[in-house]
């Protein structure tokens, strides 16, 4: 068999697959609309940055010192003054009704204590029902209080040098903005959904319709079927990578510090691994309904929970860590963030590439084995 007709056969299958995709607008809406919808949702609505914490203030001291403390809290965007009350009792309903998440209570005598050089106390009430916001607010409050104390100490002692000072500089994402971290992480969700789900469906569909038997009756080889059927979804996946990347850069200022070619290489290897996983699922289940469920569970959960997209893998129980280290999602997120944010090169990400490549190879072997064993 000449190489020419092999190419013709693969092309014929790929072309047919493109027609299937074009005939079913839902596929394109799913494949191209969902990435944009997800990125807007995660980029804007789901934010792990805690800012503008609504703050209620009870200033019973009415002094310039107490006003200075309130000003210190609200100077940055961290706290936002939403209400002022005269008594501590009056702010509790505000916390209950979610009008305020924190309340600063400055008792009478605050300025007197400050001037006497005694420890001046102010009380901060936090809403622990939202523990994430509360702990961040606590951090902010502590650092504000510390700054205030140091300021006063310096005045009282007539200036001195800090005994110890840690100078923290955050590399790669200096403002610690979560959107910058999330957007590349989103890529993993978008790619697994489309790559695994769509390939699982398209191959299972051929079994269900009985067309797989008709395909097997032609001289088209199994590898040719695999290549032809997966090629359009591979291309679609790369379009999604581009889409997510452009949206991230334009809307959320996601930096691209590393090489774009390397980024697409990482995405390609990940895509191949995912396409193969979809193929394995469909060859084993041979049923669209079951295939889509298995695809959703076996990809979305690891992508969301085990990739390090939201939760750091290092903090997981050992069993979950083990699973995370087998699946490609973690390596993809690692590699991608490395290239985008840290500007890493091949010398760092080769391990991620290798791990994803190994997964791809195992899936390819399983898929072709199962494909061959169960004819017609």
């Amino acid at each position: 068999m000449s190489g020419g007709s092999r190419v013709n056969r693969i092309r014929a299958i790929a072309q047919k697959e493109v027609f299937h995709i074009l005939r079913d607008p839902q596929i394109l809406v799913f494949a191209l609309g969902m990435p944009v919808a997800l990125i807007l949702l995660f980029g804007y609505a789901v934010s792990f940055d805690v800012e503008h914490i609504p703050l209620a203030v009870v200033d019973q001291d009415h002094s310039s010192e107490s006003r200075a403390l309130v000003a210190a809290f609200t100077a940055q965007d961290l706290f936002e003054l939403v209400a002022e009350r005269e008594t501590a009792e009056a702010v509790e309903p505000l916390l209950r009704r979610n009008v305020a998440r924190a309340a600063l209570i400055i008792p009478q005598g605050y300025s007197r204590d400050v001037h006497r050089g005694e420890t001046a106390t102010a009380q901060l009430l936090l809403d622990g029902a939202d523990n994430m916001s509360a702990s961040i607010a606590l951090g902010y409050a502590n650092s504000i209080a510390l700054a205030q104390s140091l300021g006063r100490a310096r005045v009282q002692l007539g200036g001195f040098e800090m005994p110890v000072e840690a100078r923290v500089r955050t590399l790669f994402n200096p403002r610690l903005e979560s959107s910058v971290v999330l957007v590349p992480g989103l890529m993993v969700i978008v790619l697994v959904l489309v790559a695994v789900m769509l390939t699982a469906l398209t191959v299972a569909r051929e079994y269900e319709r009985g067309s797989m038997e008709q395909l097997f009756a032609t001289p088209v080889g199994r590898l040719e079927i695999i290549l032809g059927k997966l090629a359009p979804y591979f291309a679609l996946g790369l379009v999604q990578v581009l889409l997510v990347l452009v949206t991230g850069v334009v809307l959320f200022d996601v930096p691209v510090n590393g090489s774009l070619a390397l980024l697409f290489l990482i995405a390609s290897v990940f895509l191949l691994a995912m396409l193969m996983q979809g193929l394995v699922i469909s060859v084993v289940t041979r049923n669209q309904m079951i295939a889509s469920q298995v695809a959703a569970i076996s990809t979305l959960l690891p992508a969301m929970l085990l990739s390090g997209f939201v939760f750091p893998v290092d903090n997981m129980p050992p069993v979950l860590q083990g699973i995370a280290h087998v699946l490609p999602a973690k390596y993809f997120v690692d590699g991608l963030r490395g290239v985008l944010l840290r500007g890493n090169g091949l010398d760092v990400v080769w391990l991620d590439l290798l791990a994803m490549g190994a997964f791809f190879a195992v899936m390819l072997v399983v898929a072709t084995k199962r494909f061959q064993r169960r004819v017609a």
């Binding site: 020419g4 047919k16 009985g210 032609t218």
Partner: protein, 323 residues
């Protein structure tokens, strides 16, 4: 009349057997198909027709025995077999979400065709299916009969010497079935051999030779007239104006002599198949008169392949019970 010349056989099957676990779907089947023949493969659902076809098309490896199709061994060189034959499966033939032309483009490409020959064969197929004006129509929108014609045309795109059709007329209306068979005869005149399975016994009459499968075994193989002569001998008389009970009463002596083989009711007629003296028209009429059936009308009818089928399947079932 039985058995094509081996040199001229395009399909040669020797003790072909397929077992699935402990179940034997095809049991030691042997036959040959001559070039240019319409070979009918008959049997009830589950008799082993599709399993046989799948082995002959290189889709399933035989458990035992051998088969050569278009000169290639199906077990050893399935891919060569696939290149040489056309196949229209029972369950599926075309992609319904693709247009007529896209389907043809796909199947020609799947057979590695390209360039001018591909375009030429697609044009041929469109003409063959009478779809020149509807090449851009979605296949889903075509009526079942036309879809089957298109499927047949797409199985012939690469000009195979032999085409396997597995239940091609299942679920097609009678008029379209007749058109489809006209098409089959046309492609056979063009030199293509046709191997067709069906459970429509009237369609089997169109075949040059018919093989009959019962429970995985090939129980009969002959031309349709040959099958009838062997398995349903005698003449069939159609009687009008008498009930089945009356006719059976009148023929009691002959039945006891083993000369009455079947008594069946067809509408207002009673059909009786007889051998021996009663095969004579006047003798049969006299037998009825003697029993007091004087107002009956008598005409000759024909045995059908259905009679052959019932005869053979009945025998198979009895044998099964005895065992």
């Amino acid at each position: 009349m039985d058995g094509a010349n081996p040199d001229d056989a395009i399909v040669q099957v020797q003790s072909l057997t397929k077992r699935f676990g402990s179940f034997t779907a095809v049991d030691q089947v042997s036959f040959e198909v001559g070039r240019g023949e319409i070979f009918g493969y008959l049997g009830a659902n589950g008799a082993g027709k599709t399993t046989t076809i799948r082995m002959l098309c290189g889709l399933l490896a035989p458990s035992d025995g051998s088969a050569t199709v278009a000169g290639h061994d199906v077990g050893r060189h399935p891919r060569r077999v696939k290149r040489a034959i056309g196949y229209m499966s029972q369950k599926f033939s075309l992609y319904l979400d693709l247009t007529v032309e896209e389907n043809l483009a796909f199947f020609s490409g799947a057979y590695g065709m390209h360039g001018p020959r591909r375009a030429e064969r697609i044009a041929w197929a469109l003409e063959h299916a009478g779809l020149q004006d509807r090449r851009a129509a979605l296949t889903r929108s075509l009526p079942g009969g036309i879809r089957q014609r298109l499927a047949l045309a797409s199985a012939l795109l690469h000009e195979p010497a032999l085409v396997f059709l597995d239940e091609p007329t299942a679920g097609v209306d009678p008029a379209s079935r007749r058109d489809f068979w006209r098409l089959i005869r046309r492609i056979v005149r063009g030199g293509t051999t046709v191997f067709v399975t069906t459970h429509h016994l009237d369609e089997a009459e169109y075949c040059d030779r018919v093989g009959l499968m019962v429970d995985g075994k090939l129980v009969a193989l002959d031309t349709p007239p040959g099958l009838k002569a062997t398995h349903v001998p005698g003449r069939v008389w159609a009687i009008e104006g008498a009930t089945k009970a009356e006719v059976e009463y009148a023929l009691k002596p002959a039945r006891q002599a083993g000369q009455v083989h079947a008594v069946q009711v067809f509408g207002r007629q009673v059909h009786v198949r007889v051998t021996g003296p009663l095969a004579d028209h006047d003798a049969f009429l006299a037998a009825l008169r003697d029993a007091g059936l004087s107002h009956t009308r008598l005409e000759e009818s024909q045995a059908t392949l259905e009679d052959v089928f019932l005869e053979l399947v009945g025998r198979g079932r009895n044998g099964e019970e005895a065992a």
